[in-house]
Symmetry: C2
Subunit: 350 residues, 2 copies
DNA sequence: TTGTACGCGTTATCAC
DNA sequence: GTGATAACGCGTACAA
């Protein structure tokens, strides 16, 4: 059956609608309109404080009237600085990363920066390719939802000479700026909570490398401080969906042996684990307690509600944007290394 | 308590790691290395067929040796073409849009295009601002997860003279290329399913404009063909989370009057509705049937599983990428207007 | 405070 | 098939 056409509503006469000339106006035309030289127009936009009040107003009005926007390529070529900010996420589908990008965009877009987004898919090879492309793209700044592990990439990023913000972890030696949190602390917080609640046979479900490994480390160490050894560890590859959490719990249970509680390195895994546990007739938390990380949208909605460790991802992105903005404005931010607090959100699953 | 440092593992010696010079080499240096003029280097990279075999090999070897990558800003300034592809999504947090972007990236990144992502937040004002910025950014192509409604923006996009793909609807008059599906058909499919199942007092929950209105139209028309009038319509503003679905169902129930089934314009709403219904002690589907759209990750995992209308968003993005690639390679794609099939996925909620 | 002259790195155009 | 020249649109450096 052929598709029915959608009669999409066409709207016209929007207040802010552009009346765009076929060709974008150039600085020269605006200058003529305002009766000044091109460089004065440039200054009105970049260094308005250097112009007299009268000139500035005259020029800005001409800019408004003509709908002028400077050509970012010409600007980048001449000044060596572009308005492109590159953001790299491990997985564009992650809700947490999405929130961080929204926070970043909220800070940077009003300043006239454009956001370029790349997905590294947790792959070194992709990370290498992207860092390489940065050299010729010459973005104004770079943000990663994560930290760079490859030494060569760290070096390459330093040599770019542009502001770099890493996030989502709290390493001793960030490349440049950092808005992170301690994954080791997150793991410890998880262990402490479960132990306080009386659980003793603890397990961990998460990726084997990167932040998963750090959360496991904190989890294991804190358990050790109470004289406990982890009952079991289930490692997973890339986590894309709730289904991966169901699979992971199946693996955990298939391995046999008694288990009280599972700390899942993210809420997608934890949500899947809760759903799978209940589907198998296990009571959560009395048969198996489940603790997540990240406070996803769905975490509070399932039954029982997922106890999880939360971090404000939107705020993380916003702060990263603040740091970049300051640097790009030529200031040195006061707190170039920040760690965000983690919060335990207690719901029914533990 | 101060944050504990994460001892992030540092990796070096990665096979593909870049050995980058501090300053990017320019075309002039490569030309000297190869003993040719700069324009010959340019041709070796852009129109290799115009050079003799020997010259081409000589130049490409020099490119390799120096690690040269052309400056995209200079290239864009001079040629009017960039390697940036702009993609606009209504909401970056949407799983469906994320999948489409992944599909698009999978097609375009291997070809050397960079993806720039903007979020319009369902706002005309933002759409206007973004379209305006495109004029000077001169992207190679543009993709929207949606169709452009503002006549002025449609005109502006046409005048850019670059390939444009619209998606997610099936209008009669796309700006340029289209990989869409019929939202009217989706609504009709929903009504047909619910009516076949025996439900008679049908309601709709969704946004009042755009695709929501189209799905409502199809839903209402198909109900009308069975002599049914919709029992109620609940309109919502921007949908960000499952919680919005819970709120919407609360509104629906508060308005009183008997209701058999609700068609929610997306799965976030539908998932929230199922959860809220059950929280209120309603049996799904016997007290209230709920049908969604989009087949989100969580849709199959809640209890009862959500019956929903699915469309392959990753495939949509991939096809959009294919169309753009063809156009950018100077070919005219055979199927510049495509509609994707919709599938009813029957689970327990209806 | 404003203007003039020039160059950023590349490619279009035309000549050989 | 290859090269010389100029130009893309802007902002730096310096002059007035």
């Amino acid at each position: 059956m052929p598709a029915t056409y959608d009669n999409v509503v066409r709207v016209s006469g929007h207040a802010e609608a552009p009346r765009l000339a076929a060709k974008a106006p150039r600085i020269e035309m605006v200058a003529q309109l305002a009766g000044v030289s091109p460089i004065t127009v440039s200054r009105a936009l970049r260094q308005p404080e250097k112009l007299s009040e009268a000139t500035r107003r005259k020029v800005l009005e001409a800019v408004e009237r003509s709908g002028y926007e400077s050509n970012p390529h010409a600007r980048a070529l001449r000044s060596g600085r572009s308005t492109l900010v590159a953001a790299f996420v491990s997985n564009i589908l992650s809700q947490q990363f999405g929130l961080a990008i929204q926070g970043l965009a909220a800070e940077l877009e009003p300043e006239g920066y454009e956001l370029m987004i790349g997905q590294t898919s947790y792959s070194y090879a992709k990370e290498v390719a992207m860092v390489r492309s940065l050299r010729s793209l010459r973005p104004a700044a770079v943000m990663f939802t994560g930290v760079i592990e490859l030494e060569e990439n760290r070096q390459a990023l330093r040599e770019l000479g542009i502001p770099v913000v890493e996030t989502w972890a709290f390493p001793r030696d960030p490349i440049d700026m950092l808005v992170g949190f301690s994954n080791v602390d997150a793991g410890a917080m998880a262990a402490r909570h479960l132990i306080e609640k009386g659980y003793r046979r603890l397990t961990f479900i998460g990726r084997s490398g990167g932040r998963g490994a750090l959360r496991l480390q904190g989890f294991r160490e804190e358990a050790g401080r109470s004289g406990l050894t982890l009952a079991r560890i289930v490692t997973v590859d890339e986590v894309q969906s709730i289904a991966d959490g169901r699979t992971a719990l199946t693996t955990l249970l298939a391995e046999g042996g008694p288990v009280d509680a599972a700390f899942c390195a993210n809420d997608l895994l934890a949500t899947g684990a809760v759903i799978e546990a209940r589907a198998r007739g296990l009571a959560v938390p009395s048969d198996l307690a489940i603790l997540g990380f990240g406070d996803n949208d769905a975490a509070g909605e399932i039954a029982p509600g997922l106890t999880t460790i939360s971090m404000d991802a939107h705020d993380l992105g916003r702060r990263a944007g603040e740091l970049l903005r300051a640097r790009l404005a030529g200031q040195e931010p006061q707190h170039a290394i920040q760690s965000l607090p983690l919060h335990l959100i207690t719901r029914g699953s533990t």
